[in-house]
């Protein structure tokens, strides 16, 4: 069992390096990339079964015991995020191998390294190691964001790169401050040291906690650090934008992990405990305004990602079992559905010729029924209408809030849903009904191009059917996160 824990890192790393050697053999490279990504699925399922029993998997790298060496830690939250990444990556890659991966040379290399960074960020139990994995996933994402080329992509990427370099500098300052104040960087050990910190280092720790919130908020696109997202996601190649749906969730994961373990909201992280909920609701509102104002389908979906980040962080910002559990149920739903919508927008744009996914009167689509049904499904799921999983997630969130905060949260979450519904129905009617002229010459999309988008959106149906076991799992996860002593005991007591 023990060594399976590192497989989600080894598999994409080896596949990425081998793909680099196979640049001259694109067919083989493609097969290797798909095979390795598909291999992640059984591995992460196995890890989920292991973590689902409530046990912790601790993997000391180099066999150094916990506070001295770097450890990988598997708990329920990590296992959930790993499985989500594997499902998303496989479906996105199946879309990409229809031709998008040939628009740049190193797509598969970057894709695998991006998976390495994402999985590493979820698995690591060391703050500096988290920084390193963040950098790996960022470097790969810089390359992927430019995939396909073009002026708009270059401009959006330049902003993204500069912002994230500043973010990395802040991350290092926060890590350095924490190390100076607490003398350790292992997350479990930090939790112990921060809780027992003398009053003279309290100010340094507060500064570090808030700096980390800024860094993770930049990754998660928390207001006011969300402005890079719509341009980048709206212009990236479809499979890249779909994969990036998980990137904001890495930031959300880091916030959830840090402020339940290292700086619990009722202890050292009380500033964050106060700030997170209002910031999340403001993010939601800003995203909703963007959704209404967007004039292209992909930009609209990008703003929906901002809205979903606001919803997730609002759930986490409640810092109770109900709120975190609701956020964790909503997280896979929103990731998969927004990725599916990005792929669907690409299919739609291909059949509209030069009009792309702009909301202008264009030619009728070649396959209006299939695309229309998928769009309807995606819109219902994304707007949070019953019966699909978006509705269940939002309902859980509304139930979890305490009466004192209910007025604000209910108003903003429900208005956000209504705005999403209006914008999506307007987008759908423009694209599918307000058409003029002849059908575009661009022919029918083959089934292999349809399936990934359809399967991603169908995940919402699956999550609705499996809601009871899924909610049991997320509730257990939330309870585990809010009792960090188990995590600390598992890591610091682990014998190599």
């Amino acid at each position: 069992m023990n060594h399976w824990l590192i497989a989600p890192l080894v598999l994409p790393l080896v596949a990425g390096m081998l793909s680099l050697l196979l640049v001259a053999r694109p067919g083989l490279q493609r097969a290797l990339s798909v095979g390795a990504t598909a291999g992640l699925l059984p591995v992460t399922l196995l890890l989920l079964c292991f973590a689902g029993s409530g046990e912790f998997g601790v993997y000391p790298l180099g066999n150094w015991p916990a506070p001295f060496g770097i450890v990988l830690v598997l708990d329920r939250l990590t296992a959930l995020m790993l499985l989500l990444t594997a499902v998303l990556a496989l479906l996105v890659l199946l879309h990409a191998v229809n031709g998008d991966d040939r628009r740049g040379r190193d797509f598969h290399v970057l894709f695998q390294l991006q998976l390495l960074g994402i999985n590493g960020a979820f698995l690591t139990g060391d703050l500096f190691n988290l920084f390193v994995f963040f950098e790996i996933l960022l470097i790969a994402s810089y390359g992927l964001a430019l995939h396909g080329g073009g002026a708009e992509r270059t401009r959006a990427s330049l902003h993204y790169v500069v912002l994230n370099l500043i973010g990395s500098a802040l991350f290092l300052i926060a890590v350095g401050t924490l190390y100076a104040a607490a003398g350790t960087l292992n997350m479990a050990d930090l939790a112990v040291k921060v809780a027992a910190a003398p009053p003279e280092s309290a100010a340094l720790l507060r500064a570090a906690a808030l700096l980390l919130l800024a860094v993770f908020g930049l990754k998660a696109a928390l207001l006011p650090l969300h402005l890079w997202l719509p341009a980048l996601y709206g212009h990236a190649t479809a499979p890249v934008a779909a994969l990036f749906a998980i990137m904001t969730k890495v930031g959300v994961y880091a916030i959830l992990r840090s402020y339940t373990l290292i700086f619990p909201a009722d202890g050292a992280g009380s500033d964050v405990g106060h700030w997170l909920l209002p910031l999340a609701l403001l993010t939601l509102a800003a995203g909703a305004v963007g959704v209404l104002g967007s004039h292209r389908l992909r930009v609209l979906i990008a703003y929906l990602v901002v809205v979903s980040v606001g919803t997730l962080l609002a759930g986490i910002g409640l810092f109770n079992v109900g709120g975190i559990s609701a956020a964790l149920y909503y997280l896979p739903h929103t990731t998969l559905v927004s990725a599916g919508l990005f792929l669907l927008a690409d299919l739609i744009a291909r059949q509209r010729g030069i009009h792309g996914d702009d909301f202008v009167i264009g030619p009728p689509l070649a396959q209006p029924t299939r695309l229309g049904v998928l769009f309807f499904l995606g819109a219902v799921a994304a707007a949070g209408l019953p019966p699909l999983s978006g509705f269940i997630g939002k309902l859980l969130l509304l139930q979890a809030v305490a009466p004192a905060q209910a007025a604000w949260l209910w108003t903003i979450v429900l208005t956000g849903s209504l705005v999403g519904l209006i914008a999506l129905s307007r987008a759908g009617s423009r694209i599918f009904w307000k058409t003029a002229g002849d059908r575009a010459v661009a022919g029918h999309a083959p089934l292999t191009l349809f399936m990934p988008a359809a399967l991603l959106l169908a995940m919402s149906v699956a999550m609705t059917l499996l809601a009871a076991p899924a909610i049991r799992y997320t509730e257990a996860t939330a309870a585990q996160l809010l009792a960090p002593q188990q995590y600390i005991n598992a890591v610091l007591g682990a014998q190599p």
């Binding site: 500096f128 390193v132 950098e135 470097i139 810089y142 430019l146 080329g149 073009g150 002026a151 270059t154 401009r155 990427s157 330049l158 902003h159 790169v161 500069v162 370099l165 500043i166 990395s168 500098a169 290092l172 300052i173 890590v175 350095g176 401050t177 190390y179 100076a180």
Partner: protein, 109 residues
């Protein structure tokens, strides 16, 4: 020594932030490099400023902390790679957008 260290950091960060806020890409890249120098120095200082002390805890006091140096090495490598990447990206943006403004809009537009 602490005052000199703090002043060095302050000057580096101030210049870095000023340059990062410029409108053209070359000053922004320079600003990012200055910021990363400041961060590297900062990480180095987190082990406290001691001279001529052994890097191991034990009998002798005071001791020097070897861990920040390992952290700095990692940070330098990553910062170096990132700077190289952002230089190339800025050059490409110059080529594709036709000017070197960060927002891609030249003087006349």
């Amino acid at each position: 020594m602490e005052a000199v260290a703090a002043l060095t950091l302050a000057v580096l960060v101030t210049c870095g932030v000023y340059l990062v806020l410029r409108a053209r890409t070359y000053p922004v890249v320079l600003g990012l490099s200055l910021l990363s120098y400041a961060v590297n120095l900062f990480l180095f200082f987190t082990g406290r400023l001691v001279t001529g002390a052994p890097p191991l805890a034990g009998a002798a006091t005071p001791t020097a902390d070897p861990l920040p140096q390992a952290l700095v090495l990692t940070a330098i490598v990553i910062g170096f790679g990132m700077t190289a990447f952002v230089v190339i990206l800025a050059l490409r943006a110059r080529g594709e957008l036709g000017n070197d403004h960060v927002d891609g809009k030249g003087d006349g537009q």
